[in-house]
């Protein structure tokens, strides 16, 4: 990272033609380690207040849409706000009471463990199945590839709540298609089988939904990545007698490592906060047994009207995600240094 930024800084004055017009044509020797030709050819980067002005709208938008709610949320998490305080607009400061209450609550830890298990299972399935379909896309002929791509895009374009509703109908206890399918296939005990009988079975159905909904992103990205792998690499591998498995691990995987990294971590983030799917499926039930962290925060906050406590849950969720993500950033930085 340092390498790049220094290079950019040192190159800026060299490239300012109007100012340097009267100076000798030989550029001043580069001061930093970035002793390579400046990027951007002869065009200069604007200086002074202009860059700040240009970046201001983006910073402003980010600050109002992300930073402000985030700060508000942290403040809220330090207050004891329930239904009465909320309606009366009182904001009693509670210090870290919400946090100590949560950290001492076994229910909270159950939800944390469940969130991790849910994320792990989903991301693993999404990455494996998505990559396989991506490879399939690469191997298919033109027409079939188009058909499959369209199918994937349509699955991806499906609004989440609508797809959850469809899944709920499929798995409905009284009129569901799944029970009918099982009965027709000759299995007994599916007269009125409750697919969402336990927290685990509910989570399994949510997992099917989330995996189904996330595969297109991974598969299409994988396909895009595969098109950048040169045909000569495959050819060379074939010449060396590599089988499909070896080709994947020795050629495709190293080439697409950045792709795997970014998609995996994006999926981790998305699955970890998959509120809509889980809540719309069974409202975190039965008996709160399918709640993951965002759903837990919502149920405590909205349904139970413990707004301060819910804010504390979401802050802890952020902390947990940052810790998980820090591994990713370390990985990226390390690679950068190695280069």
């Amino acid at each position: 990272m340092t390498v790049h930024s220094q290079g950019a800084v040192t190159s800026a004055p060299q490239d300012a033609p109007p100012k340097s017009a009267g100076l000798p044509e030989t550029p001043a020797p580069a001061t930093g380690p970035g002793a390579r030709p400046p990027r951007g050819g002869g065009k200069s980067l604007p200086t002074g207040w202009l860059p700040y002005l240009l970046v201001a709208p983006a910073v402003l938008a980010l600050a109002t849409l992300l930073l402000y709610p985030l700060i508000k949320n942290v403040i809220l998490s330090l207050q004891d706000i329930n239904k009465v305080e909320f309606i009366q607009r009182k904001y009693p400061f509670a210090g870290f009471d919400n946090y100590t209450e949560l950290l001492g609550d076994p229910d909270f830890w159950t939800v944390v463990v469940r969130s991790f298990a849910f994320t792990l299972a989903n991301v693993a399935l999404i990455m494996v199945l998505g990559s396989l379909i991506g490879i399939l896309l690469n191997k298919l002929g033109k027409k079939m590839r188009l058909v499959l791509s369209m199918a994937l895009v349509m699955a991806w374009a499906m609004p989440i709540v609508a797809s959850v509703q469809v899944f709920r109908w499929l798995f409905d206890e009284q009129f569901g298609v799944m029970n009918w399918v099982m009965r027709t296939a000759g299995f007994s005990g599916y007269e009125q089988h409750n697919w969402m009988e336990t927290g685990l079975s509910t989570m399994v159905i949510v997992t099917i939904l989330v995996v189904w909904g996330s595969i297109p992103f991974v598969a299409l990205n994988m396909y895009a990545g595969l098109t950048t792998v040169g045909a000569e690499l495959y050819e060379a591998a074939r010449m060396d007698g590599a089988n499909g498995w070896q080709t994947f691990w020795k050629i495709v995987f190293p080439n697409l490592k950045p792709f795997f990294l970014i998609t995996t971590f994006l999926e981790v983030i998305w699955v970890f906060k998959a509120f809509t799917q889980v809540y719309a499926m069974n409202k975190g039930g039965p008996d709160r047994a399918s709640e993951i962290l965002p759903v837990f925060a919502y149920v405590e906050g909205q349904s139970q009207a413990h707004y301060g406590l819910a804010a504390a849950i979401s802050v802890l969720t952020i902390v947990i995600l940052v810790i998980v993500m820090s591994f990713y950033f370390r990985l990226i930085l390390k690679q950068e240094e190695e280069q």
């Binding site: 239904k83 909320f86 950045p258 990294l261 970890f272």
Partner: protein, 426 residues
């Protein structure tokens, strides 16, 4: 460079994700439509259109230029919605609140104190039993509007076919269900989902127990008691004649419009508006509804089962911009004249707030059965914390599902009581 970009995308993705986590309650500041409009929130099935149109017409005649906007709300998730609405600068001016939830809102300061307006509202004429849920610590926070209770609604044809007549005791009821089952295996003798907790409440009261009782200065749950266990045992027995899901309540799927019109249901337990909804849905499906009604039978023939006396109150929001107009609308709607019309419009299926407005129901009607059953009506504990107990996930419902699936009632009840105690004393 590519990596940096990737890292940036990662950060951006995370930030967007996190922002979505912090679910703030943004003020949905409604456009101020001028001072000459009041908004009234009524619940699904509470206000017949013909009646409320007439109330508004009369109101507008008295207050030229003032229009009344009526917004119909669903019961599901209503507490969150009302809480948010009461915290805003422009809440609905008049709102209907369930009688079990009114005390919970009264203590928040979100409802206008109507104690001084008692005379204007005609409070002297109100039924004492209905007034109880509208008051907290001697102060009036709402006007009782209507009350209703559940009865058994049955398909006359199915009962005739099986040779069953309306039962008067629990034993007769069970024997009848048994006969219905034998007569037509494809039809469920009764549709009773596992989480119909208002029905259970009546059975618990019949045993002499209660959902929660006062224990010194605090409240404690009453589901772990032998009385609740006995009530649940009977509920389980009746429920065994139904193929309804054990983990659903009567509103999801909506029994009146989603279940009964599909056929195959010989009887079910519901309210007047549900019976009406089912009739309408059957008609739309090209079928003829032929319903009979009887009170939920008690242990002996001389006393029908205790029933939960559901109902609603009308309150004025403390932050209403048109409090005076709202109070006048309230006085008009809850007054004797309009309540008389209300009772007539609902054919007595909803009991008006004063005896003088009562409607004499037709023989064999829902209202007649309801009137008989309503004599033994009771309401949930009147305390501010009760509303917290009722909100989803409702511990009473979880208790019912657990017992129906075979868990020990005393153990499941103790778990539920712990949760009730936590919520009710908040």
């Amino acid at each position: 460079m590519k990596r940096k970009l990737i890292a940036a995308v990662g950060v951006a993705g995370m930030m967007v994700g996190l922002a979505a986590c912090g679910n703030g309650d943004d003020d949905k500041a409604k456009a101020d439509a001028g001072p000459k409009e009041i908004t009234v929130w009524v619940m699904d099935g509470s206000a017949p259109k013909a009646w409320i149109d007439e109330v508004n017409k009369e109101f507008s005649a008295k207050h030229p230029g003032v229009t009344v906007k009526v917004e119909e709300q669903k019961w599901t998730g209503i507490q969150e919605k009302v809480t948010t609405a009461l915290s805003e600068n422009t809440p609905p001016d008049v709102l209907e609140l369930g009688n079990t939830q009114t005390a919970g809102y009264a203590v928040t300061g979100g409802l206008a104190d109507l104690t001084k307006e008692k005379a204007q509202l005609g409070a002297d004429a109100w039924q004492k039993s209905m007034l109880a849920s509208a008051e907290v610590d001697g102060k009036l926070y709402s006007a009782p509007w209507y009350a209703a209770n559940r009865v058994v609604i049955y398909d006359k044809k199915a009962f005739a076919k099986a040779g069953v007549t309306p039962p008067t005791t629990r034993d007769e009821w069970v024997a009848g269900l048994e006969k219905l089952k034998a007569a037509d295996p494809a039809t469920q003798p009764i549709y009773l989902p596992g989480q119909s907790w208002y029905v259970l409440a009546g059975l618990i009261w019949d045993e002499g127990g209660d959902l929660a009782v006062k224990d010194g200065a605090k409240w404690k749950g009453g589901l772990g008691t032998p009385q609740a266990g006995a009530a649940m045992e009977f509920y389980k027995k009746i429920q065994s004649y139904s193929t309804a899901p054990k983990d659903k309540d009567e509103a999801n799927p909506q029994q009146s419009t989603d279940i009964v019109p599909k056929g195959g249901v010989a009887s079910w337990i519901g309210l007047g508006w549900e019976a009406g909804g089912a009739e309408k849905a059957l008609k739309e499906a090209g079928k003829e509804a032929d319903f009979g009604y009887f009170p939920i039978p008690g242990k002996t023939a001389d006393k029908t089962s205790t029933v939960f006396l559901g109902g609603s109150n009308l309150a004025v929001a403390e932050r209403s911009k048109n409090k005076e107009l709202a109070k006048e609308w309230l006085a008009l709607a809850a007054g004797k004249d309009q309540m008389t019309k209300y009772a007539a419009e609902t054919k007595g299926a909803l009991l008006p707030n004063q005896a003088a407005a009562n409607f004499t129901p037709a023989a064999g009607s829902f209202a007649e059965a309801m009137g008989k059953a309503g004599v033994n009506g009771k309401i949930t504990p009147v305390t501010a914390g009760w509303a917290n107990v009722e909100t989803e996930p409702n511990p009473i419902k979880e208790f019912m599902t657990k017992v129906l699936k075979g868990e020990d009632a005393a153990k499941a009840g103790a778990d539920a009581d712990a949760e009730i105690a936590k919520r009710i004393n908040k």
